[in-house]
Symmetry: C2
Subunit: 198 residues, 2 copies
């Protein structure tokens, strides 16, 4: 087994350990157990739980980029909705427990600069992707010409973050947010469609 396989194994084990134990109670031993490795073997690759979790956030980030980049769609409107869907839908193996663990990690960002930097990258990437689609749509007349693409992109990211938090906190289905976001796009962003769609 080469180092790449080992790293992937440890990342997979971290995912499973987070689902089972949550973030607060997670130990290097839990991850070692999931990976069927010794704690010493884990420490050979990562100095601390903090280092391992920073690596894990980078691993998640790579998966996130793969999942949301270049969304399907015939035009900027379809691509925007497709991007929003990719963020709202969990990956195939995504569990409720994992969403919960991620919210715990988010809550620890003020104490762990390494977490904050990496979590900020997710939001910034998503803002950039949304902004690019909005700008394409403004240029080709899909979206309102007076739209501020950066503010609108940030607003949509805030809505998506709120939906992810509500899913954990109150168990509110993301379907409601998906529906409201679709309406927001149709009635407020699409060029001249407002009266027709309303």
């Amino acid at each position: 087994m080469n180092d790449g396989d080992t790293a992937d194994d440890i990342m997979d084990a971290t995912y499973r350990a987070l689902c089972t134990h949550g973030y607060a109670d997670l130990t290097m031993q839990d991850i070692a157990d999931e990976a069927e490795k010794s704690k010493a073997a884990l420490h050979y690759h990562y100095d601390s739980k903090h280092d391992l979790l920073c690596a894990f956030l980078e691993y998640l980030y790579d998966g996130f980029v793969d999942r949301i980049e270049d969304p399907d769609g015939e035009d900027p409107h379809e691509r925007l909705l497709s991007l929003v869907d990719s963020v709202l839908d969990k990956p195939d193996d995504g569990s409720e427990e994992f969403g919960t663990a991620i919210l715990e990690i988010r809550a620890h960002a003020p104490y762990e600069q390494g977490f904050r930097e990496r979590l900020t990258k997710f939001d910034d990437y998503l803002v950039d992707e949304l902004e690019a689609i909005l700008e394409d749509g403004i240029a080709d007349g899909t979206f309102e010409s007076d739209l501020d693409s950066e503010d609108t992109a940030r607003f949509i990211v805030t809505v998506l973050t709120g939906a992810a938090t509500e899913r954990v906190t109150t168990g509110r289905p993301v379907e409601c947010t998906r529906q409201t976001l679709r309406e927001y796009v149709e009635t407020h962003l699409l060029n001249g469609q407002r009266e027709v769609e309303a």
Copy 2:
């Protein structure tokens, strides 16, 4: 000292202990120390940390209702913005640490039904208040007549939840959300103002 004073003292101590220790590491002893009481005295009032924190969430809820009910303003538009401001602004004694502890508690809601029930009450109360203002504004012509007041209220709550999460996770100032929400209200909810404000 009567029981009411004791309960208030314990709630104040819980607030300070959460700011200092966060939720995950919080012990009954930490709260007892903050309250300058024995752990036994704390257990006389609350069987467990879970019970105490449920009581604390109810205490926060009462404060939340006091803070946001009956918002100032000459008309539904002003009252809506005033309500949003009350939620975005922390109370006078609100610290970043406390917002972080609350996000930790939110992340534990799936494992603690008592937390979930109480946290859901906050969102439901806020939705009801927003909905009432939106309906007043639809009735008196302030807002668009075809607005779905419940969906719009839920959407605003999701945005506010997202802003609170982002403040903790990435340190993003709520001022940005405040500004975008104001623009959303002005360009998308106000009746016939769209072209003027855009």
